[in-house]
Amino acid sequence: LIKNLHFEAKYFCVLMSKHLFNTRMSSETKKNVDLKTVAIGAVAVGAVVVAGAALLRLLKKDQTGRRTTNPAAAEAALASNVSLHEAVTALKNQFSVSPVKLDEIKNVRSHPFFQCELPFLIVSNTIGVFG
């Protein structure tokens, strides 16, 4: 089983490398993948996971409860040369407790993370391990 898993892991890393670096490999190369390739693959997967987690953390810090890559949108709007009306609209957004946020407080399982990202991570990692 271990030998088989080892082969599957190596093969997965080869496929990953092929996709990532667009390299062409013969079947002979596939068979002779060494531990170094496995390590590179693992590091690559780890880096993707860490980057994803960092991105999720960044998104979670949005004060309005909205999942956006620009949590300081309101501040930026204020900083620019905006009208009073635009500034007030931005402020009202800052002070709004969105339904998403209320749902998060009501039940942590309704958090988008649990609705989307976690199942995605579980499925992708399962495929990764057994693929």
Partner: protein, 414 residues
């Protein structure tokens, strides 16, 4: 919910979850004349309450005194002799025997029994010697004996528990099991099963229940993972004397709502977007210059040109303002008020869920100027709770003067 559960297990966490030694709720049919002493700060009140048995509390006599500065800074004997004199004055004309008194003492107290508690530290300008680290009920008892005042101090309470007990007495059958203060500060209490209070070292209570003072204003202060803080909230927290604590309270209590809006105005002023005249700028420079009562008035202003807001601004030194500026101010004040109501509702929904009453409902006794006077606060709070819980079975009941009447109810039922 996690912070509440943690606070019930051990001390020293964000939510203190303090057992209050109140173990019974009134039925509403108790009939007795009883006294309440309320020391909230420099003002004290002694109330002779008549619990008339039909859920009604009649204040037969009220004695109000301002504790002179010299007494506040004297010693335990002088301070409590002054209090005993006020109690004696309230008892004039009452010939009943076995008089009891409930004592609401709004200072940090470590309660050790229903009628016993040690003052941890003086606040609000008091410095009377010999009170800190001493049992305030014992000190009051001694003063009453010195003055020959025949009354037993039966209970020491805080305003939140008092409000819940007064609400439970005044609304019999409504399952009033939560007390909420939304005034200058904010706090809540509820009735918990004693087996859930893991840190409780005493015997199980006869009722199997214990009222828990959540001290909920400190929620999320340590982890900062839940509450949606704006840059203004963070600024207010940083400039406050208790930086880093009571963050939940800072989002919704009367002490801070006006200051949040002042900080917003100052930022808009700095960008020349709002009230940017020279005279206007200076009058709002002082921290806490913008009272929460002003917000209520601005939100309630429905005159065509917001004339009431105009005169209010002039009263605080903002001489010139355009209609557009006043409209903007009203929108900002409304947003801050709505958020406060929503966040207060979230807290109550959590407590209701903790008690397992989300589906069946219960009633919440509420006291405090923000809940009572801020326009739309009650409606927004009720609507948000209905949204979270999926029904409108949790009812809010305004319970005025809970800190006074509630201590009397606690003394009556224990």
């Amino acid at each position: 919910l996690a912070e509440m559960a943690a606070g019930l297990e051990k001390d020293g966490l964000a939510l203190k979850m303090i057992p209050t030694f109140v173990t019974r709720l009134p039925q509403g049919h108790e009939t007795v004349t009883i006294y309440a002493l309320d020391i909230g700060g420099s003002n004290l009140r002694v109330i002779r309450d008549r619990l008339s048995g039909n859920g009604k509390i009649v204040q037969e006599k009220v004695v109000k005194k301002t504790i002179p500065d010299a007494i506040q800074k004297s010693d335990a004997s002088q301070l409590f002799d002054f209090v005993a004199d006020a109690i004696a004055e309230a008892m004039i004309g009452d010939d009943t025997k076995d008089k009891s008194l409930g004592f609401t003492f709004s200072f940090p107290v470590s309660q050790t029994a229903l009628a016993s508690g040690t003052l941890i530290k003086w606040t609000k300008g008091f410095t009377a010697a010999g009170v800190e680290n001493n049992d305030v009920v014992a000190l009051l008892d001694k003063a009453l004996k010195r003055k020959g005042v025949d009354v037993t101090v039966a209970a020491l309470a805080n305003d939140t528990t008092g409000t819940m007990m007064a609400g439970a007495y005044q609304s019999p059958g409504s399952d009033c099991c939560i007390g909420l203060i939304l005034g200058t500060g904010s706090n809540a209490c509820y009735v918990e099963k004693i087996e859930n209070v893991k840190k409780w070292k005493g015997d199980p209570t006869a009722s199997g229940l214990m009222a828990i003072n959540i001290e909920w204003g400190n929620f999320d202060s340590e982890k900062r993972q839940v509450l949606p803080l704006t840059e203004f909230d963070k600024m207010l927290d940083k400039q406050s004397p208790n930086y880093g604590s009571q963050i939940y309270e800072k989002l919704m209590s009367g002490m801070y709502l006006g200051e949040i809006v002042r900080l917003v105005i100052k930022q808009l002023q700095s960008r020349n977007l709002l009230l940017s005249g020279t005279a206007s700028s200076q009058s709002l420079d002082r921290p806490y210059a913008f009272d929460t009562a002003f917000l209520s008035q601005i939100v309630a202003d429905n005159t065509p040109d917001l004339q009431e807001t105009l005169s209010l601004l002039r009263n605080i030194g903002v001489v010139n303002s355009t209609l557009a500026e006043r409209q903007a101010l009203k929108e900002i004040a409304t947003a801050v008020g709505v958020r406060a109501a929503q966040l207060a509702a979230v807290g109550i929904a959590a407590v209701v869920t903790k008690m397992g009453k989300g589906a069946t409902g219960c009633s919440v006794a509420v006291d405090g100027s923000v809940y009572e006077h801020f326009p739309g606060f009650r409606v927004n709070m009720q609507a948000t709770m209905a949204k979270i819980l999926g029904n409108d079975k949790v009812k809010m009941v305004l319970t005025k003067d809970g800190s006074g009447n509630g201590a009397a109810v606690i003394a009556a039922v224990h």
